[in-house]
């Protein structure tokens, strides 16, 4: 298929009796920033390792740029990996690490040194070439690993939770940088993460994994606004579901509905039902969490169940917010935010 960087067909992998990957079908386009999102043990890393060639599939095929590479060794595939633990060679300098892939491919020494230095400069580590990996900080090692994987200009770059070991500030900074680098080089990125926010902010498309299967593939907005299964609704964003009786009373339909917390407004209980086409539910505030820029209300509904509502702190302060605990409120949101989760009654 034209324009397809990666194509996985009915991919399966069993370890002993456990089925780590249970029939995955995916197509990833050229130049795409594609994330595989899921909890640990959902099979996303195993799929990545099968694309890289570190694991052989039990059945199914892996195609790279239209040709079947299922039986090829890692060194026969035009794919490079950024490892979760970076896997920088401890006995080589930073520059030797970055140049290693070129050396193996017999690029002449002056040329590979030039390219390695350029790659290091592009991750802002130009002066660190003669150091050992053990002399670098976590964020610097991460960037060396990125430079090492990018220097050979592979068709596809695989990233296995590359930001997992970094602290929050650095991680947010690296998210922006990674995305910028990807746009600049135009290489297909396949990014494995369990962090939904990371996946939502960086990706062109996301595949949500659960128990060895892909639950949904879509753009971040599709995944967030229109989850295809109850699992996706619960895993991406705050789990905010109305079920059974509560759904019947509030929405008027006995099924499972997902309402995103930021769509819900918290009003005084006495507020009039003056807005058309809105769903309303009364309840008692069980918990108030002050988040600085916003406040999270956990409301026990009279109809049963609990909803979370997120309000910008436009006028309220932390003192005002605490007073809400235990008070009676009305929750109101536009009916178009009632999203019926498919696959439920």
């Amino acid at each position: 298929m034209e324009g397809m960087a990666i194509r996985l067909q009915n991919l399966r992998k069993t370890f002993g009796r456990t089925e780590a990957v249970a029939g995955v079908e995916l197509e990833i386009a050229d130049g795409e920033f594609f994330s595989m999102l899921g909890p640990s043990g959902s099979g996303k890393t195993t799929v990545l390792r099968m694309i890289a060639g570190f694991e052989a599939p039990t059945s199914g095929t892996v195609e790279l740029a239209g040709s079947d590479v299922t039986r090829l060794a890692p060194f026969e595939r035009d794919v490079h990996t950024v490892f979760q633990d970076y896997a920088l060679f401890p006995h080589m300098t930073v520059e030797q690490n970055v140049a290693y892939g070129l050396k193996v491919r017999k690029v002449p020494k002056p040329e590979r040194l030039k390219q390695a230095r350029e790659a290091l400069a592009s991750v802002r580590l130009a002066d660190f070439g003669t150091r050992r990996p053990s002399q670098l900080s976590g964020g610097q090692r991460q960037r060396v690993a990125l430079a090492r994987a990018l220097v050979g200009r592979p068709k596809v770059l695989l990233l296995d939770e590359p930001l997992g070991a970094l602290d929050l500030k650095l991680r947010e900074q690296m998210q922006v940088e990674l995305k910028a680098i990807q746009r600049e080089v135009g290489i297909t990125f396949v990014f494995v993460t369990h962090d939904q926010e990371e996946a939502l902010t960086m990706s062109d498309r996301i595949a949500v994994f659960n128990q060895g299967r892909v639950e949904q593939v879509g753009t971040p907005a599709q995944i967030y606004e229109r989850p295809a299964t109850p699992f996706v609704a619960g895993f991406v964003g705050t789990s905010n579901l109305l079920t059974d009786d509560a759904a019947e009373q509030v929405v008027g339909d006995r099924a499972t509905y997902s309402i995103r917390p930021e769509k819900i407004r918290v009003l005084k209980e006495s507020a009039l039902a003056d807005e058309p086409r809105h769903s309303r539910a009364t309840g008692t505030v069980a918990e108030v969490v002050y988040l600085g820029d916003a406040t999270r209300f956990l409301v026990d509904l009279d109809a049963g169940g609990r909803l979370t509502a997120l309000q910008q702190n436009l006028e309220t302060s932390s003192e005002d917010v605490a007073a809400f605990r235990g008070s009676r409120v009305t929750l109101q949101w536009h009916q178009r935010h009632n999203f019926r989760v498919p696959g439920t009654r």
Binding site: G53, T81, F83, Q84, Y86, L88, P90, V104, R105, P133
Partner: protein
């Protein structure tokens, strides 16, 4: 840990006594090798290097030293190859009987030398002799290798356990085929463990006497065996002292190097 003053003094005395028991006799050997009194009378009436000159010219001692070196190098070479292979197999692959194999590999170091000696002696005579291979240097080397493998195996497997498999995956990912990965990444990372294991193996072989006695044919005499058989001869006693002193000094080197290598890499090779 904070100790009371009397406790601290007691512990220090005990430690000093412990080291004295080990090292004073060695010191005595060194002094006696310079003692002009042929029967090692005490205190030494003077100082002489005659025995060192005698030892240098003693063809028996030199021949035995040469035999010991050959036996030690041979056993170490076998142990390095086999011990490394077994360590890789046990650490990198899962297979039926893996635990049993690693147990069976380590066991020979705990077996009494006399048992290994008798068993090997019987086996060599019943299996090898009909094939025309008599007891000799070759059988000594094989005998030593049985327990030298253990130290190499232990060193290499400890290194492999600490080394994440992702290094090798990264090399292959960057285009290095299996052998290239071994040369560029795996070998450099286990090299110091191999050197440490090899030095220990050589030291083990070099001072072995029991297994050697049972596996060496007539005319093959390693240095420890030569010392043992010459100790009782009053004529040779001073020369034996010299040889023993030389051996003490020689053993210091590999042990010191092995210790430095294993501690260096414990801190240096991790990232």
């Amino acid at each position: 840990m904070n100790l009371s003053r009397p406790a601290r003094i007691t512990v220090r005395i005990a430690a000093a006594l412990g080291f004295a028991v080990i090292y004073v006799p060695l010191l005595l050997v060194l002094i006696n090798s310079l003692n002009p009194d042929r029967s090692s009378g005490w205190p030494p009436p003077g100082l002489t290097f005659d025995w060192w000159v005698d030892a240098w010219h003693s063809s028996g001692a030199r021949g035995a030293l040469w035999t010991s070196l050959k036996a030690g190098l041979g056993a170490t070479a076998i142990a390095l190859v086999l011990g490394t292979l077994v360590a890789f197999a046990c650490q990198r692959y899962k297979f039926f009987g893996r635990e049993a194999i690693s147990f069976v590999v380590v066991l020979p170091i705990a077996l009494p030398g006399i048992v290994t000696g008798v068993a090997l002696n019987t086996a060599f005579r019943t299996v090898l002799e009909p094939l025309g291979v008599g007891l000799g240097l070759f059988t000594v080397i094989v005998g030593h290798a049985t327990f030298c493998i253990v130290v190499v195996f232990n060193n290499v497997i400890a290194r492999l356990r600490r080394m994440p498999g992702s290094y090798e995956e990264a090399a292959m990912d960057l285009g290095a085929h299996t052998f290239r990965t071994f040369v560029d990444v795996t070998f450099p990372l286990v090299r110091s463990a191999l050197v440490a294991g090899g030095l220990l193996a050589f030291a083990l072989s070099f001072d072995e006497i029991v297994v050697t006695t049972f596996t060496a044919g007539p005319g093959v005499q390693t240095l420890p065996v030569w010392i043992f058989s010459n100790m009782a001869r009053p004529q040779q006693a001073p020369v034996v002292n010299v040889v023993a002193a030389v051996l003490v000094l020689l053993s210091v080197i590999p042990i010191y190097l092995a210790q430095r290598l294993s501690s260096d890499t414990a801190s240096g090779s991790r990232i």
